[in-house]
């Protein structure tokens, strides 16, 4: 492929990022060297390229020097690609003639103790960017229509808030909730901290607002089974599970009195009973009963039919045994994921005896015991003998700050416990309350004051995490084994009741049927931890509440409102520009083999098999992963902005000097490139010989790129991408993985050691994994570089 134009004028702008880059990388030296590169006509340095002054100087330099390619060497493109694209546009240059070199996350921050080598690497990263810039082509961004409708997944307080906010702003909202009622965890709590508001009293009205809002379609007892499409144009399939009770139900409650089946009530933490026909709790929305088919005698009049009989006797006919699950398809423009966290299962810490000892409760069970609509109507009793406990202990960090389960702090449990102790003290001041804790974290507004009140009320706070609880078999009293750290002594006090302050588990991996990046802790990852806290890597999909990290009600609501304005921003415009990274087929060379059609997960590339005509790409459907281009046997598919020639030029530039020492890494923009960035942000140091090439998906990596790298003498090559189930292009990295055997066979033929090539799945949350891989691969490269030198010596 020839150069698109002969008069190429490249400008290189180096950023010191205050001292973030400049402290390690000598950017003046890099600038001097950059001037010697072909086609580079202008080089400048900036203290902060992203600042208004920095951008203005870039803008002026582009205009004054008539630059037609722009390279900025600064931070990660995941942070500021859009910023500098906009700068380029404002200077009258097409944004796709811009390229970034990441000399911060991939260089200065990970080689903090090796300034000389880091400077050398920074220059080579610039050289690679310049090599790609030379071949860049202008592109026009097509606009796509945005459906002004949103889907909110999860009907907890975050989902409710997001739905109401968007609905009030005038957008149609579908709220999909898995369980029979909305309300989530907040609906089962008694009081909220730090204000001691009654939880359901403040949530209840919002729940009914959802039901009555003209712009909200509530889909309770429903699950999202499939999401397809792209920003502005998503299609979702919703499974509406059969309730067997129609919407005419007035919740008169007659049916429950005749239902012969009793099962433990999950809303009450199994501390009470409910019937097989039931409503989860009195304030449930929709206020409509349902039949639990797992326990019902058979959902037909022959097996039982008592509920239908009584309903008909009362003059209604709301029970429909013929109800069936059905699938509804909806079209939406944006999605807010608010599916929440999972409460930690205390049975996983057997030494605390939850599930074996009746008087050991978890937070949620305790909340129900205290709740006026709970099993005891708000009377605190212990389950073993229904006596009011006189001595109550709370144990903090159950499942949190624990490497065996969740390493993170679960955020809400300290205040949850402090609130509970105050509630007990308020009703029964004579109760002795002890809290065992590692650290009390009362960081929010009004939190420390609440902690102070609990101390004033005489709650004992003992610093120490108990190792076990033993039950006295006769009395069912509980003995807690703990070191009182402040007194430096072992104590084993006895209690009538122990409450385990459970933390939050990450959501299940399949909580939404669309790949969204997750952190190492399992929670969904935001697009940027500071500046895009409710965006995801997928445009048009936002996150709010406990699905992002463990958080309390206020934070969930704040995030939900933030997510809804982000979604509303898109919907308000009515259309959005999308990146023109599409596949193009060179019809003259296409043999109509059909390989590409099997690679495309979107059905964007098609072939008429009978007619044997060349493949055709539907650009509206193409997402730009490049899997088809990499696997095309004729190499006649061209990925715009990530062409074979552009990537090969990067490979060549990266391996120009001392290739035998280099580790060339292909990283996908969504996961492994993010992992590399995280290693940078976390200052995880690794050797300076890595050179990362960014592609949209691991699926883009043509084996030819790897062959070229080894033929140029690369020390080691790594092909990296998302974990297989997380691929943002559904199946791109599966096909990338399939190429491994082909590549390894080739390595064998060439007599190249297998160790020098690796395939790694690294999520955007796995900075440590990236660091480890780089360290390992660079050792391998070093090993082979040394052995090669030994062989070469006699020749020299």
């Amino acid at each position: 492929m020839s150069r698109p134009e002969s008069n190429i004028r490249i400008g290189v702008f180096l950023c010191g990022c205050g001292r973030n880059i400049a402290a390690t990388v000598d950017i003046d030296k890099v600038a001097e060297k950059a001037k010697t590169l072909d086609d580079v006509v202008f080089v400048d340095t900036n203290k902060y390229s992203c600042s208004e002054t920095g951008q203005a100087s870039i803008r002026n330099a582009i205009r004054e020097n008539k630059l037609n390619r722009v390279v900025v060497a600064s931070c990660s493109p995941k942070l500021h690609l859009e910023t500098f694209k906009a700068t380029t546009v404002s200077a009258g240059v097409n944004p796709y003639l811009f390229e970034m070199a990441n000399i911060r996350e991939h260089c200065s921050w990970v080689h903090m103790h090796e300034p000389v080598q880091a400077t050398e690497k920074a220059f080579e990263l610039v050289e690679m960017a310049v090599a790609k810039a030379r071949l860049l082509e202008p592109q026009t961004e097509p606009k796509v229509h945005i459906t002004p409708k949103a889907m909110v997944i999860g009907g907890g307080v975050a989902g409710i808030q997001a739905s109401l906010d968007m609905a009030d702003a005038g957008y149609q909202v579908y709220l999909v909730e898995k369980s029979p009622t909305i309300g989530g965890i907040m609906a089962v709590l008694d009081k909220t901290f730090p204000t001691m508001d009654c939880s359901i009293c403040i949530l209840g009205p919002k729940m009914s607002d959802v039901k009555s809002h003209p712009n909200i379609t509530l889909m309770a007892y429903s699950e999202v089974k499939e999401i397809k499409g792209y920003v502005g144009n998503f299609k979702a399939k919703i499974l509406r599970k059969a309730r067997y009770v129609t919407e005419d139900c007035t919740a008169c409650d007659e049916c429950t009195s005749v239902c012969p089946i009793s099962v433990p009530n999950e809303v009450d933490g199994h501390l009470s009973w409910r019937k097989a026909i039931y409503m989860p709790f009195p304030q449930a929305v929709p206020s409509q009963f349902l039949i639990d088919t797992e326990h019902c005698h058979g959902v037909n009049p022959i097996s039982c039919g008592k509920c239908r009989d009584v309903c008909r006797e009362k003059g209604a006919d709301c029970i429909n045994y013929d109800d069936q699950d059905r699938v509804e398809e909806i079209e939406i423009g944006t999605i807010v994921v608010a599916t929440g966290f999972k409460p930690f299962d205390a049975a996983r810490i057997p030494e605390y005896g939850w599930g074996r000892y009746p008087n050991v409760l978890n937070t949620l069970e305790f909340e129900r015991l205290f709740n006026a609509s709970g099993p005891t109507e708000g009377h605190l009793v212990r389950p073993s003998d229904m006596e009011q406990p006189k001595r109550v202990a709370f144990i903090q960090c159950v499942g949190s700050r624990d490497q065996r389960f969740n390493a993170y702090c679960s955020n809400f449990c300290c205040l949850e416990t402090i609130k509970s102790t105050l509630l007990i003290k308020e009703h029964w001041p004579e109760t002795e309350i002890t809290v065992f804790y590692i650290d009390i974290r009362a960081f929010g507004k009004g939190f420390e004051e609440l902690y102070h009140r609990a101390r004033e009320e005489g709650v004992r706070f003992i610093r120490g995490r108990p190792s076990q609880i033993q039950e006295e078999p006769e009395t069912h009293n509980l003995r807690v084994f703990v070191e009182d750290q402040n007194e430096n002594r072992f104590i084993s006090p006895e209690f009538d009741m122990v409450v385990l302050s459970i933390g939050a588990d990450a959501p299940d991996p399949d909580v939404v049927p669309i790949p969204l990046p997750r952190g190492a802790d399992g929670f969904l990852l935001e697009a940027h931890p500071k500046l895009k806290p409710v965006d995801t890597a997928s445009r048009g999909i936002f996150i709010a509440g406990g699905v992002e990290s463990p958080k309390d009600i206020k934070e969930s609501v704040t995030q939900a409102s933030a997510a809804s304005i982000r979604a509303a921003q898109l919907m308000a415009k009515g259309e959005v520009r999308i990146e023109p990274i599409f596949a193009e087929v060179d019809a003259s060379r296409c043999t109509s083999c059909g390989t590409c059609t099997t690679r495309c997960p979107y059905g964007a590339i098609t072939i008429q098999e009978k007619k044997v005509t060349p493949a055709v790409v539907n650009q509206a459907l193409c997402e730009g992963c490049g899997t088809c281009a990499a696997d095309c046997p004729e190499d006649c598919i061209r990925m715009r902005h990530f062409t074979d020639e552009q990537i090969l030029e990067q490979v060549r530039a990266g391996l120009k000097n001392h290739p035998e020492n280099k580790v060339l890494v292909f990283a996908c923009t969504f996961c492994s490139y993010g992992g590399a960035d995280l290693a940078g942000v976390s200052r995880m140091q690794y050797p300076t010989n890595g050179r990362v090439i960014r592609t949209m998906c691991a699926g883009r990596v043509d084996p030819d790129f790897v062959y070229e790298a080894f033929q140029l003498g690369a020390g080691a090559v790594a092909l990296t991408g998302c974990h297989p189930q997380d691929c943002h292009f559904i199946s791109g990295n599966r096909f990338a993985a399939k190429r491994e055997t082909r590549i390894r066979r080739w390595l064998d033929k060439q007599g190249i050691d297998q160790e020098r090539f690796t395939v790694e799945w690294i999520s955007a949350g796995e900075g440590k994994k990236f660091q480890n891989m780089m360290t390992r691969m660079s050792e391998i490269a070093e090993k082979f570089a040394k052995s090669r030198k030994k062989v070469e010596k006699p020749v020299v």
Binding site: R404, R465, P466, S467, F481, E483, Q485, N488, R489
Partner: protein, 175 residues
């Protein structure tokens, strides 16, 4: 003469360095410790004697207060029941750390509590706990055979080979 002297100091320095390196490595191992106290409350030694606290030993290591650490006798009381390790939420291998401390103290000629030395003596008889009549009776009641005495010669050889016997004699002299 002076050259020999220099060699000795150099050797001494090297030895001190290697101990410091070892302690530094241990400090890294215990770095995840949050001082949550779970290990202490699970430790049968601490449960009966609040003076001997595994957490405080860990804390000293973590803060790199190495001075006099090997002269401590607390870690010698660790019976390697592994309760602390099993309970530790941060996965700190406490018993392993105490073994390393014991080995370091042993090899650098630090005082060893009499209790431990006596254990070495007892081992020569083949049993850690002397076989009493009650024990034999209990074993019979449970349908277990009489305990078999291992080859004491072999134990002696082992104790000699590992330098344990030498250290016992040395400690007696110190006494």
């Amino acid at each position: 003469m002076s050259e020999v002297k220099k060699d000795v100091t150099q050797e001494k320095n090297e030895e001190v360095d290697s101990i410091l390196n070892e302690l530094e490595a241990l400090a890294k191992v215990v770095a995840p410790c949050l001082e949550c106290t779970t290990c202490a409350s699970a430790c049968p030694v601490f449960q009966s004697d609040s003076q001997r606290n595994p957490r405080r030993l860990l804390n000293r290591l973590g803060r790199r207060e190495f001075e006099g650490l090997l002269d401590e006798v607390d870690f010698w009381w660790c019976g390697a029941c592994y309760s602390c390790e099993a309970h530790c939420p941060q996965g700190v291998p406490l018993a392993h750390v105490f073994f390393r401390l014991k080995n370091l103290a042993f090899h650098t000629g630090k005082p060893i509590p009499k209790l431990v030395l006596r254990t070495g003596e007892t081992l020569r008889s083949g049993f850690l706990i002397p076989v009493k009549k009650e024990i034999t009776e209990k074993r019979h009641a449970l349908g277990l055979p009489d305990p078999v005495c291992p080859d004491t010669k072999e134990i002696e050889t082992l104790l000699d080979a590992t330098g344990f016997s030498g250290r016992i004699i040395q400690s007696r002299k110190l006494d």
